[in-house]
């Protein structure tokens, strides 16, 4: 897949859809196109968050270590983006992401991602929407778990 196809792909993401075509192209050009084999770890919990991953093909699972062992909390697949929130806070990765199948990704480095958001208010607003949705979800879950019978 060439650069042009990658640009087509990321245009489908709300965060990137409204930014200028040249910027989209630069984003793809400046990113790394990587292949992961099944079982290969993309993100290690505890590592510094230095990039976001756009999944072009394949599926991944998101897991967190708990005292009772590793628990898979989510799976993601084609045309999804993972690891994008972590790079906005200077925090460590909170989960591990592992390739389940052979996975093709576009690895967008933290600097590049930040640059895009800084120059495109629309992208920033999209990002806030995502954050707001996630916050709402988390709040819901908290309410659920605190009111659940012991």
């Amino acid at each position: 897949m060439s650069l042009e196809q990658e640009v087509e792909l990321i245009r489908q993401f709300p965060i990137f859809s409204k930014i200028a075509p040249a910027m989209q192209k630069l984003l793809c050009f400046g990113s790394e196109r990587l292949t992961y084999d099944p079982g290969q770890v993309m993100i290690h919990v505890g590592d510094a968050a230095d990039a976001a991953f756009v999944i072009i093909d394949g599926s991944v699972e998101v897991s967190v270590p708990t005292p009772r062992g590793t628990v898979v909390v989510n799976t993601s697949g084609k045309n999804e983006i993972v690891g994008e929130i972590g790079i906005f806070g200077d925090m460590r990765r909170t989960a591990t992401v592992t390739a389940v199948t052979k996975v093709e990704v576009l690895r967008i480095s933290k600097d590049l991602f930040m640059n895009v958001v800084r120059q495109n208010p629309d992208a920033a607003i999209e990002l806030i929407k995502i954050l707001a949705t996630r916050l709402a979800n988390t709040t819901q879950q908290l309410i659920k778990s605190s009111t659940a019978p012991k």
């Binding site: 650069l3 192209k25 630069l26 050009f29 400046g30 990587l34 292949t35 992961y36 993309m42």
Partner: protein, 911 residues
């Protein structure tokens, strides 16, 4: 064999007479002969004019005269005149020519003599310069270390290199010139006096005026010369400071301060030099005037004398000819005097810098083949004290005795004198009082042949020489030439000549061409064992791994690669098999003569080899004539022009809005920010005239762009399969038609051959790690290591890493690595006592612990004196010395000393 240290003289003339008396005396007779010839050449013209020309002795046309009748005029009581030779009888015309020829002969003979004298002077001067330079360098080697804190290295270099240079020239002149010129002037003067007493008096008077006035005017010049020398030396020192302090200058934005400082210095130098030249030219003018004055007097008074018949014309012409020669020697004599004073000043100023108290006596650095070294016994310090320059007692009456092989820790606060104690024990500082003996040998008085082998000192930051890591390690083994070099034929004669000259000028006879590596000192018998020993030592200081890395990344010199080639080709094959067995063969795209490598640049695909030198460097491909020919002949030019055009368009589109200096310009090195406007202009011209319509300069710029393109990495889709096929064709064409003169500029990839121009790692992979595979380079790196380890090639790679050039003062190594090299250097020579003065301070805490433990383990049977920054590290030592304000306040076993209330306890609490 001994390196005799030449003593220095305070006065230049003392020095010259001392070392060149014999050579100078050899020239004196030549000078005298030259004077006689000179006198004759002055006298002859008079005879020529008076006799054949004016016909004095030819009263009628048939008269003849005896030529060359030599009569020795002796007083009557010795028998009167004694005719030696009757001469040839010649008529007037032949007599004229005979005399003229005799005159020519005299001139030639005198010229030859002068040539001989000048050559001898030259030899003498160069020998003296050599002697002086060597002696000064010898002094530097014998300076007490404290001296180096006060004198700038650049100033030392300037003094030896530049400031003594005129001294060499002067030595040849020192005695001969006054003799020669004085003789010449005196001869001319005597000649004039002999011709006519009044004319002689006039000449004498003018010379006297010159000789008195000019030197007076020159006195100021001397002061200026002195200032000129000092300011120039200081300038050299300042320039060195700026280069040493470059980091500070940039970190504090003081470059303009430095500019102002240098400008001020240059201004001062300008003033001095300007005044100097002004005065010099003034003196020149006066000098010339005085010289021209005399002929005026000669013409008027001499002419008058001829007219009234008191002087014959021949004599007048001869006097004027003689006078023509008089001002020059007088002027040169005055010049010589000026030079003498000037050089004397230079000499004195240089000597002041080199006359140092506490200069080590030459015996201390004498070459000793097998010096007595401490074998067993104790280290015994008695009442050891050191008073610093300001009179403080930095080390105060320290006495202790421990076994030679004991591991001793020295602890104390930073100002406790711990470092000074270490340097006293290493005999780098001479104690103000007290002694140190080791195994019964008095270390404070022993020659360096003993201390430099029995002791090894590593301070907190060590100096590395700008050679390879290996040479830096071996440096500590080069105490004396161990195996003489064998010379023959021309080389032998040259060596003998050099040796003769060296000995003649007080130099050393030791041969730098000999093998200086003392295997004995490292406890081995040959070079091979030494290499293994070095590998062990590298492991002790944790330097093996970094050197392994460096070895992988470096290209092996062709000379060395012969032995390695086959073994590394085995590794290449093993690596290929390993990748295949792990189903990872796709992780490395191997170079295949018949395939386009999408993970390599277009340039690499075209050359299918590694460029050697500049001709086929990727930056020069676009402008290389042969490459242009290949592209034209294979029809690639139009294709690549198209790719270049598209690439230029993409770059302009993508990068136009990026700020200058954005990392992308670096990462995708197709284009620089400052080139963007130019590329835009080219694109505009292409839009107007088409790709075929643009001029050659634009074309070559576009053509140069795609060479760095890596299809797999840049994903621009610019190189399709059809184009790949044509590049392969061009690749074959490139190789088969490569002209002879370019054969050495590229080393083609060959699966069965080792490529010397490529790094070791590239040679083993023989391909490119694919860019799209996550974590590929890391995992391939691990596999590579495994393979090399299994094949037993790791030591080989480390040895190649040992060839790494460390740069000026080791700047190409990290600070920690530099220190590790210094540690390895100290350990390698197996000293009886290893003295470490906070030597691990620059390592990170984890490495400090590991390297510390390994050194202790490695030196199980050898002594260590270890000055520690942190007191808690002392528990590994068998004996602990606790210092406070230069005094040894406690000593003993760590566990006993650490009890409450002790000095060690206080130190431990401070942390």
């Amino acid at each position: 064999m001994e390196a005799k240290a030449p003593p220095m003289e305070r006065s230049l003339f003392g020095y010259i007479i001392r070392y060149s008396k014999r050579d100078q005396l050899l020239i004196v007779p030549l000078v005298f002969v030259s004077m006689v010839l000179y006198f004759l050449s002055l006298d002859l013209p008079k005879t020529i004019i008076n006799e054949p020309i004016q016909g004095k002795r030819f009263p009628d046309p048939e008269s003849s005269v005896a030529f060359l009748n030599i009569v020795l005029r002796l007083p009557e009581f010795l028998g009167g005149d004694w005719r030696l030779f009757n001469g040839f009888v010649l008529e007037r015309m032949p007599y004229l020519f005979a005399l003229a020829l005799a005159f020519l002969g005299l001139i030639v003979a005198n010229g030859g003599l002068k040539y001989q004298i000048n050559t001898m002077k030259g030899w003498m001067g160069e020998r003296m310069l050599r002697r002086l330079r060597y002696a000064l360098f010898d002094h530097i080697l014998r300076f007490p270390l404290a001296r180096f804190r006060r004198v700038k290295s650049a100033e030392l270099a300037t003094m030896i290199k530049d400031e003594v240079e005129p001294l060499g020239g002067f030595v040849g002149e020192a005695l001969i010139t006054p003799l020669m010129l004085g003789g010449q002037a005196l001869t001319a003067l005597l000649f004039i006096l002999y011709q006519h007493i009044y004319l002689g008096m006039i000449a004498l008077g003018m010379v006297a005026v010159q000789a008195v006035i000019i030197p007076k005017m020159r006195r100021r010049l001397l002061t200026l010369a002195k200032q000129r020398q000092l300011t120039a030396r200081q300038l050299a020192g300042r320039i060195a400071e700026v280069s040493d302090g470059a980091v500070e200058i940039h970190a504090h934005d003081t470059s303009n301060f430095e500019r102002a400082d240098i400008a001020a210095r240059l201004g001062r130098m300008f003033r001095i030099r300007f005044e100097f030249f002004q005065r010099k030219f003034m003196i020149k003018f006066l000098n010339n005037f005085l010289s021209q004055m005399t002929p005026f007097l000669f013409y008027s008074i001499g002419g008058y004398l001829v007219i009234v018949g008191k002087l014959d014309i021949g004599a007048l012409v001869a006097v004027i000819a003689a006078y023509k020669d008089l001002p020059t020697p007088v002027k040169e004599l005055i010049d010589w005097d000026q030079q003498r004073l000037d050089v004397q000043i230079k000499y004195t100023q240089v000597m002041e810098q080199f006359m140092v108290e506490n200069l080590a006596p030459p015996e201390q650095q004498a070459v000793i083949e097998r010096p007595p070294l401490p074998q067993q016994g104790t280290i015994c310090a008695t009442n050891l004290s050191l008073v610093d320059e300001s009179g403080n007692k930095v080390v105060d009456g320290v006495s202790f005795e421990v076994d030679l092989a004991c591991h001793v820790a020295v602890v104390g606060r930073a100002d406790s004198g711990r470092s000074e104690l270490a340097q006293l024990l290493a005999r780098l500082l001479p104690p103000s009082s007290g002694t140190v003996t080791m195994g019964g040998i008095d270390i404070t008085r022993a020659p360096e042949a003993v201390t430099g082998r029995a002791l090894a000192y590593v301070g907190s930051s060590s100096y590395l020489f700008p050679v390879s890591v290996r040479e830096n390690l071996l440096y500590a083994l080069k105490h004396r030439p161990v195996r003489e070099a064998v010379y023959e034929g021309e080389v032998l004669r040259e060596r003998e000549f050099q040796l003769r000259e060296a000995l003649r000028t007080g130099g050393t006879s030791l041969d730098i061409g000999a093998d200086w590596i003392d295997y004995d000192s490292a406890g081995v018998v040959n070079a091979e064992e030494l290499e293994n020993c070095i590998l062990d030592v590298l492991k002790v200081v944790e330097l093996e791994e970094p050197l392994f890395e460096r070895g992988l990344r470096s290209a092996v010199e062709p000379a060395r690669s012969a032995e390695l080639r086959d073994r590394l080709l085995v590794a290449r094959e093993a690596m290929r098999e390993r990748l295949a067995s792990l189903d990872m063969q796709d992780w490395v795209e191997r170079f295949d003569p018949a395939r386009y490598n999408r993970n390599a640049t277009l340039a690499e695909n075209l050359l299918f080899g590694a460029p050697v030198g500049k001709a086929f460097d990727v930056d020069n491909l676009g402008s290389n004539a042969y490459v242009a020919q290949v592209l034209d002949e294979t029809g690639l030019t139009a294709d690549l022009l198209g790719v270049g055009h598209q690439l230029a368009g993409t770059m302009v589109e993508l990068f136009s809005d990026l700020p200058p200096g954005h990392e992308f310009f670096e990462r995708f090195a197709f284009i620089r920010h400052e080139d963007l406007p130019n590329v835009k202009a080219i694109l505009a011209r292409v839009a107007e005239f088409g790709l075929t319509g643009i001029d050659a300069a634009d074309r070559s710029q576009l053509l140069a762009l795609p060479f760095k393109l890596i299809s797999a990495r840049h994903r621009l889709g610019l190189i399709d399969e059809a184009l790949e096929g044509r590049v392969l064709e061009a690749r074959r064409y490139f190789a088969t038609r490569l002209p002879e003169r370019l054969r050495r500029s590229v080393e083609f990839f060959d699966p069965t051959r080792y490529t010397s121009a490529a790094s070791l790692q590239d040679n083993i992979l023989f391909g490119k790690i694919v860019s799209g595979q996550a974590d590929a380079s890391q995992r391939i790196g691990e596999l590579l290591r495994q393979v090399l380890e299994e094949l037993g090639l790791r030591p080989l790679v480390v040895k190649i890493g040992l060839d790494y050039q460390v740069g000026v003062a080791g700047a190409r190594l990290s600070v920690a690595e530099r220190q590790k090299v210094a540690l390895a250097r100290a350990i390698l020579k197996r000293p009886a006592v290893l003295i470490l003065d906070q030597a691990l301070g620059v390592l990170d805490p984890a490495s400090q612990a590991i390297v510390g433990d390994r050194i202790i383990e490695h030196r199980r049977s050898g002594g260590i004196i270890w000055v520690l920054q942190r007191a808690d590290a002392a528990q590994q030592a068998r004996h602990v010395l606790v210092l406070e304000h230069g005094r040894l306040v406690e000593q003993g076993v760590f566990d006993e000393l650490k009890r409450n209330g002790s000095a060690l306890n206080r130190l431990l609490k401070e942390g």
